[in-house]
Amino acid sequence: MRRRYAGAAVAAALIVAVCSIGTEAYLKLGTRVGERLITLRFNTLPVRYFITNRDVPGVSAAQLRDAASRAFASWAAVPDVRLSSEFVGFTGASPLSGDNANVLGFTTRTDLDRVLGSTSFTVDTITGEIIESDIFFNSAFTWSAAQAGEVGRQDIESIALHEIGHLLGLGHSMLGETELIGTARRVIATEAVMFPIAFSAGALNRTLRADDQAGIADIYGTDAFRTATGSIAGRVTKNGTGVVGAHVVAFNPASGQLIAGFTLSPDGTFVIGGLSPGTYALRVEPLDDGDVSSFLDSSLHIDVDFKPAFHDRLVTVPRGGTSRNVELKVVAK
């Protein structure tokens, strides 16, 4: 069985996750089979892709090819990840074409005035295998392929890096802080390429962070990754009841790395995976730096009525194992 998903618009956003799975750190895209959630992923490598043969001001099709190639290479370079890609050629087909070919290209969507790009999927809903994934970049915006970026223009490589993260099966991260400017949100800072809202035009965001790396390794990690890293599992509770939609951040005071996960079930359970062995401090916060629908399935009853808080215990992550039974207690605002 195959089903087609499409991204939707959010404020100044890139793409909305189709169905988010919160297992093992990060958010992954998934499909539900009965009670099971199955991670979306490419089972056959390399990921073969085409580039739509259309130039836009500031970025030619060849420059988009080069930017996409570098972005794919960044994801493939994550340690202990088995991932590869191959540029097949230019095509006259536009993204979202439903032709079983992965196509990246520009499309003009003036109706999506806050969407820079979007990724869509055709998946096998039984196995979670991605059959086709297309990325469109909205040529209603102004773009740049300049190495150092250009003031007032969106950097194509930065946005491609984010969208290719989706193409590979990742959802959004909430490791970022925003401020409301009118009805839109502006990013103050972020520690994940997969944060749903892009930096302002002209800024570069081409470097994968620890959270991005943990996420991709969770999907495409080798056995070496699983034996070299560990995880933290626990619950977020408010008055003894599980909290849904809490964002739990693991901070390594030795490395400074931030890796996060969400609680996605009524009992408030979470798992943060891909953590280097060591001691971590934990922080929990509500989903307050973007539309909830940017991150999680809208059918979930997300609780945002609690104060950010730290956990009063340090948690040690074992190599290849899980530190369990961590309970983070929060109180209403």
């Binding site: 002209g202 800024a203 901070f251 001691t279 922080r283 009063d312 215990r313």
Partner: protein, 220 residues
């Protein structure tokens, strides 16, 4: 015959009656064991902020999500040693120390106003090694200096993270002997400086810590 026998039997009796003045013990081959409490100083375990990369079009500095400052609290544990005298003034001993220090990370200055708090983690610390001691005199109050090396092993409370290193220590102290005779009980107080190649914390560096011990010793 009677006179000879009386002399022969009398010599030990005379020797036993002679008061101990510390001239014969300890001597090469004397054994000393002891145990007591060991206080180890705390130390700075590192500070690092949780930061996020800035939107370079609006600002150039990383955003501090929150700050962290860690330390290991001073701890009192237990220790034991067993030694043998190589001469009346020099002895070697094996030492063992165990303690349960706490690693504390102060989290604060949160960007979204999470209340600051101390996050605590428990540790178990084991130290096994040896020392060479030189004693100044052999009376009731005997100052000494000591130096040696040890193997250090520290584990978190879940035994998930194991840290191993070495310690080089030097210091001195005093033994106060009670009673008299070759077998004696005494009080031992010593202070050392312990330089440790590894120790629990978030900065991988050698740390030098004061260590103070007090306990009972038995000489025989």
């Amino acid at each position: 015959m009677i006179a000879i026998a009386a002399v022969a039997l009398g010599l030990p009796a005379c020797a036993a009656a002679q008061p101990y003045i510390g001239g014969t013990a300890p001597h090469a081959g004397s054994i000393e064991i002891g145990g007591g409490v060991i206080w180890t100083a705390g130390y700075d375990a590192g500070s690092r902020d949780a930061t996020e990369s800035p939107n370079t079009t609006t600002g150039g500095s990383p955003l501090t999500l929150f700050t962290s400052s860690s330390r290991v609290r001073p701890v009192t544990g237990v220790g034991a040693q067993a030694g043998v005298y190589l001469s009346s003034r020099v002895s070697v001993e094996g030492v063992f120390q165990y303690s349960k220090p706490s690693l504390v990370t102060t989290l604060g200055d949160d960007f979204e106003n999470a209340a600051p708090l101390d996050a605590v983690g428990g540790l178990s610390s084991y130290l096994v090694g040896g020392s060479l001691l030189y004693h100044f005199g052999s009376g009731k109050v005997v100052p000494f200096v000591a130096g040696g090396a040890s193997y250090l092993r520290q584990l978190d409370e879940a035994n998930a993270d194991v840290l191993t290193g070495n310690d080089v220590h030097a210091g001195g102290g005093v033994k106060v002997w009670f009673g008299s005779g070759e077998s004696r009980v005494g009080l031992r107080i010593d202070a050392q400086v312990s330089s440790r190649s590894k120790s629990a914390g978030f900065e991988d560096k050698r740390r030098t810590l004061p260590v103070v011990g007090a306990g009972l010793v038995f000489l025989f």
